[in-house]
């Protein structure tokens, strides 16, 4: 069921926009399910172009060439893109929740109708809400021992896949959740939503890894709500789709809530990966440490946008957005846009951004010890990323993440 309300968008132009093939298909698919308000919105405004601030570096109208037909239930499944030893596995294939094995202690698995994301002025969030038929719900009543892996797939011929997951974490509970996005080698367009609510003093690590085919497009929107004292660590890895955008919407809603929001774009020739964070520090005394890294080679393009919004009463907010880029070729592009929107007066907020190549002196030092050039590069790249993987305490999980990074490094241009 579409969740949006039929609010007429403001008419900024007198002429309707010229629609491209992707927009036409989206409109038809929306009308087919009766999401007329969403269809109207696209008809009037089109997909966001670079003139829309939050899509400045990821011009969807230009980048999204086609939308494949709506996904049908998957008949076959490709091999899992990532195995985490000892993890409790759940699968959603082509938007359909698959039956799972017995849940570990503390976990209640359920289903709900429709999408999970709160309404916001964002086309990917709107589309996820309109197209999501059902959502997987996980209620974590107490601390969960095994890592929870949600394996989200797009299988078969190229398909437009929408799915959504809602996770409630009880007060004082802790959990480690990894979501992987993968599937068959086809020009899928995936639109994934995750809503996560952390109770008081809950401690959660949430990792999302895009390992879709290069032909695919990956969109994900993750919304987080943190109650008093809740601690969230995220690690987003965009490492698969030709076009990817992961949106992070953390909301610090209770005193003492803290977020280590981290992410990584790994892009090669012809890829475009975007991580966009829009964080809200809503109450006094919350902190966050958003740290993003991008590595680009060939003609790859990586984008990181980080917005910190501090509400009027949210005094003593302490938040710093950081993005570090590493260029492995002269043709690569790494773009970064920080934004601070601060309405309180007693806060410590900031942003920083660096971008460079591998340090030549470090390369020479390693090679002077007999380490060949490519191996030295790999060591330095791993070193650059260590800060992101090091805090992941589960050994099997850390090993799996190292595997993804090494796989990318070995993957060549």
């Amino acid at each position: 069921m579409p969740t949006s309300t039929a609010r007429q968008p403001k008419m900024r132009q007198t002429m309707p926009v010229r629609l491209n093939a992707a927009e036409e298909t989206l409109i038809a698919q929306l009308k087919a399910i009766g999401a007329n308000a969403e269809a109207e919105r696209i008809t009037v405004a089109g997909l966001p172009t670079r003139r829309v601030e939050s899509y400045h570096y990821t011009d969807l109208k230009m980048l999204l060439k086609a939308i494949p037909p709506q996904a049908a239930a998957a008949n076959e499944a490709s091999a899992p893109a990532l195995r985490v030893a000892g993890a409790y596995q759940l699968m959603i294939a082509n938007g359909v929740i698959q039956s799972a094995s017995t849940a570990p202690a503390g976990v209640i698995v359920g289903k709900a109708e429709g999408g999970v994301l709160s309404t916001r002025d964002d086309v990917l969030v709107h589309l996820n809400g309109a197209f999501a038929k059902e959502s997987l719900t996980l209620t974590l009543e107490s601390s969960v021992d095994p890592v929870i892996q949600i394996d989200r797939r797009a299988e078969g011929a190229a398909a437009h896949v929408t799915d959504s997951v809602k996770v409630f974490v009880a007060d004082n509970a802790s959990a480690v959740i990894i979501e992987t996005f993968s599937g068959s080698d086809a020009a899928h367009v995936g639109n994934h939503g995750t809503y996560m609510a952390l109770g008081k003093n809950a401690v959660v690590t949430h990792i999302t890894v895009d390992l879709s085919a290069r032909a695919a497009t990956h969109f994900a929107s993750n919304e987080y709500h943190l109650a008093d004292g809740a601690k969230l660590r995220t690690l987003v890895i965009n490492a698969g789709a030709g076009l990817s955008r992961t949106q992070l919407f953390p909301r610090y809603e209770g005193a003492g809530a803290h977020g280590d929001i981290t992410g990584l774009n790994l892009v090669s020739d012809g890829q475009h990966a975007d991580i966009t964070m829009d964080a809200l520090h809503a109450v006094p005394g919350t902190t966050s440490q958003p740290l993003f890294k991008s590595i680009a080679r060939g003609h790859g393009k990586a984008v990181v946008q980080g917005k910190l919004v501090v509400a009027r009463d949210a005094q003593k907010t302490d938040a710093k957005f950081m993005h570090q880029g590493l260029m492995l070729s002269d043709e690569a592009e790494i773009l970064s846009k920080p934004e601070l929107e601060i309405y309180a007066d007693d806060v410590v907020c900031g942003h920083g951004s660096t971008c460079g190549k591998l340090d030549e002196d470090s390369m020479f030092y390693l090679m002077s010890r007999g380490i060949p050039k490519e191996e030295a590069e790999t060591m330095l790249v791993r070193g650059f990323l260590e800060e992101l993987v090091d805090p992941i305490e589960d050994e099997a999980l850390a090993e799996a993440l190292h595997g993804i990074i090494d796989g990318w490094l070995l993957g060549g241009k």
Partner: protein, 253 residues
């Protein structure tokens, strides 16, 4: 006549438009330790970097043979596997790369280049532990990222540890004594002396005669304005200490 370990013939090198090495000639036979002393900025570190293969320099003339092989034709990592080792004047800090990981990678890379198999982890740990004990290095330190947060003296000791593990034929020590306290100087010198052997040569760059009381050189060279201007036995270092460089290179102090 046996092949010298290192033979430098009329080596000229420049950086951008500036010539820094202006005709270096130096032969170090197997088993000998040669000291090089010279003013700040005379080109000693440049010589060591050029030998190790740093990219920034353009070699305009001359040749260098390592155990008879054309050193300048090799990549930096090939030079290392061929037996050249440079203990850096300023070791590089590399955050994110654990020292142990680095040591293992370096040892295995050199073994692989020589067609030997990888070291097992227990063998590696034993070797590191033993070399570390001799140099008074706490193995806890080696769990940290490479050189990051190491004190000046710790960095120098870590360089000698690498040298001990890699067992090079030709060791170049660029001011390994600077930054060492009196006790550390003794420990490091002992470590270096333990590596002296009939098949291994050393080039020890230093500003202080004191080091040469511990590591007694076979030959001392005075380096000035990009070349060697005087060579002699260990007493030359004493004369330098007493008189300064002016007597040897004619320039004002």
């Amino acid at each position: 006549m046996t092949t010298p370990i290192l033979e430098i013939r009329n080596l000229h090198a420049r950086i951008e438009d500036r010539e820094i090495l202006k005709g270096v000639n130096l032969t170090i036979p197997a088993g000998e330790v040669h000291a090089v002393m010279g003013r700040n900025g005379s080109g000693k570190s440049t010589l060591s970097y050029v030998l190790a293969g740093k990219e920034d320099y353009e070699i305009t003339e001359g040749e260098v043979l390592l155990d008879g092989q054309d050193l300048l034709a090799m990549e930096p990592f090939e030079r290392a596997s061929a037996g050249l080792f440079l203990a850096f004047q300023y070791p590089i800090e590399i955050p994110g790369v654990a020292t142990m990981t680095f040591l293992k990678a370096a040892m295995n890379a050199q073994r692989k280049a020589r067609g030997e198999g990888e070291m097992t982890t227990p063998d590696f740990m034993r070797a590191v532990k033993q070399a570390g004990t001799e140099l008074n290095i706490d193995t806890e330190m080696l769990k940290r990222p490479l050189n990051v947060g190491f004190s000046g003296g710790e960095k120098k000791r870590a360089e000698v540890l690498q040298m001990a593990l890699l067992q090079p034929k030709m060791c170049i020590l660029d001011e390994t004594d600077s930054g060492l306290d009196i006790d550390a100087l003794q420990v490091v010198s002992k470590g270096v002396n333990a590596l002296r052997s009939a098949g291994r040569s050393m080039l020890v760059i230093t500003h202080y005669q004191r080091l040469l009381n511990h590591i007694v050189p076979d030959v001392v060279h005075v380096f000035s304005d990009g070349k060697i201007v005087e060579s002699g036995d260990k007493d030359l270092a004493l004369q330098l200490e007493a008189k300064g460089y002016a007597d040897f290179d004619g320039a004002a102090a």
